[in-house]
Symmetry: C2
Subunit: 322 residues, 2 copies
């Protein structure tokens, strides 16, 4: 479904020599052949202006983010990225925007050996839809359904800074300039934890990527696994990359860490006997990992503070329809 | 990337028991395993309101069309449909719309044994992005690049009626009621030629699906194959399903058939020695096939009328950025 103008667009900014796919962008279909014994992991995310990114975002950062949120889903399955398709609705053909967007997109794609194999472009309100393909040995994918009572709950990297940056853009809070730049970087250029996800194959019992906030996304593991959990809200609040530099009170830091959204870290579970293995997976992938709770047989999520007392603050999951 | 409300939406209208995929909708990734010796054919199409469909379209017909245009890409490769993902941006949660859309979508999906394995929903201007997966024996995919001088040029089914219907909606022409309903059906519920595409494996030398008009899409074959072609414009004009019933002049009927857009038929090439095999493939797939031209060594497309005289009328490809 590509007319002449569209086709020129694709050719100019998005066509590169095909590597992995027998066909590059331009035939009706791309052809992929997973290696013997491998399953193909597939995920789709759609990004809409004003909901997933601000209209003022640097296009190179947007190109990074559009692919990063998809790679994050592969990471949560422990899959190695192979390829992706890009469908793009644009209000107008803007060469500077396309140059920046494709530069940011391909920089991240190349860093992960992930090849653009097909796509579609059309005119319309700005919308980016990427479908990403990875491979994982048959039976080795990390799922949401494997958490068991007694497992530890871990998270990768940092939490909550993207939400802080969003609130600054919304004008609901102010941050020191250095803290804002750090938080903005987390919002606009999240780091998909691909290497960690692959290193956790055979170690983690369940995993999910944190796109809507830790509480909501961990909830998917709890529901799929038929278990509950206890989480240390203060340990989570310590995971803001901006740390104490923001001068924000503990309630707000807990809120951002637990329900901020847009983190693209991994939340995962593993038995206590695997603690050394989890820490080794973190080192091997150069990704910080922090233990912040435990899976329990009783359904529901119980938040406690550093002293073990119940936290009564309410945390809603970030909802793209809210 | 699914929050609570989104998740409820997916669960209500789009979750069905998983069949082919080891995982259904709801984990971070779907897992697919093509059979041994098979390649996976992948294609993505994005549909935007006002460009690919009218805001007044019946949602069940839109659900059909959104998948049909993607299945049409698989057909052009000769691939058997396996699965698809759906990303949906909706301005609001409208239960009646979702019920109709999912009903039309799944009716076509079920008819082709094509399973929904993942997706994303968000709030935003109406946008539908489907990525479809099929399988084809390694090396057997129909490509755009195999046409050779001396090959016949064939098209499946009917051409041009979708454009007639669009022009009625635009108010630029009037049709008798029966003709309009027929044309509207071709516009709103195109028939992906999946069975024909599979039957043409090993017979057709090149194939493309006609989404932007025969002239433009055949042009992709000519360019990829390094050849030209001669087309009988009057034979093409006879392929309108509405036939003589519209009372329209020959120039307009040629225009719609050759450059109307939205046909989702196959244009393909095959050597003259394969004529009986092509006709048998058409019968076996219950799909009309019509020979309307020939591939020539000289680059470019030459249109002739029924008497073999050059047609000087200009035909632009339908361009989604026009």
């Amino acid at each position: 479904m590509s007319g002449t103008g569209e086709f020129d667009l694709i050719a100019r900014y998005f066509t590169r020599p095909a590597r992995r796919s027998p066909l590059g962008v331009g035939d009706d279909c791309a052809l992929l052949a997973p290696a013997a014994g491998m399953q193909l992991a597939v995920s789709t995310d759609m990004l809409v202006e004003g909901r997933h990114f601000l209209s003022t975002v640097d296009p190179a950062r947007l190109g990074h983010k559009a692919l990063a949120v998809n790679l994050s889903d592969l990471a949560a399955c422990g899959a190695r990225p192979l390829a992706f398709t890009l469908a793009l609705s644009l209000p107008a053909v803007d060469a500077a925007w396309l140059e920046g967007f494709s530069r940011g997109l391909f920089a991240l794609a190349d860093a992960h050996g992930c090849e653009l194999v097909g796509g579609d472009t059309t005119r319309g309100p700005l919308n980016l839809c990427i479908t990403v393909f990875g491979e994982v040995p048959a039976g080795a994918a990390l799922l949401r359904s494997g958490a068991r009572a007694g497992d530890d709950v871990w998270v990768s990297g940092t939490l909550g800074d993207a939400r802080l940056a969003l609130e600054v853009f919304r004008g609901t809070l102010a941050l020191p300039a250095d803290s804002f730049e750090l938080a903005r970087g987390r919002m606009e250029q999240p780091t998909p934890r691909v290497a960690l996800g692959m290193a956790l194959r055979g170690i983690a019992t369940a995993a999910v990527d944190i796109s809507d906030g830790l509480v909501g996304d961990l909830g998917h593991i709890l529901k799929a696994s038929g278990v509950g959990a206890r989480l240390d809200a203060d340990a989570a609040a310590k995971l803001l990359a901006t740390g104490d530099s923001t001068g924000l009170d503990i309630d707000l830091r807990r809120l951002c860490a637990l329900a901020g959204g847009d983190d693209y870290e991994l939340a995962f579970t593993a038995p206590p006997a695997a603690r050394a293995a989890v820490e080794q997976a973190g080192r091997a992938s150069a990704t910080p990992v922090t233990r912040i709770g435990a899976i329990e047989a009783e359904a529901g999520l119980r938040l406690v503070d550093a002293q073990g007392a119940a936290v009564t603050q309410r945390f809603a999951s970030f909802d793209h329809f809210a």
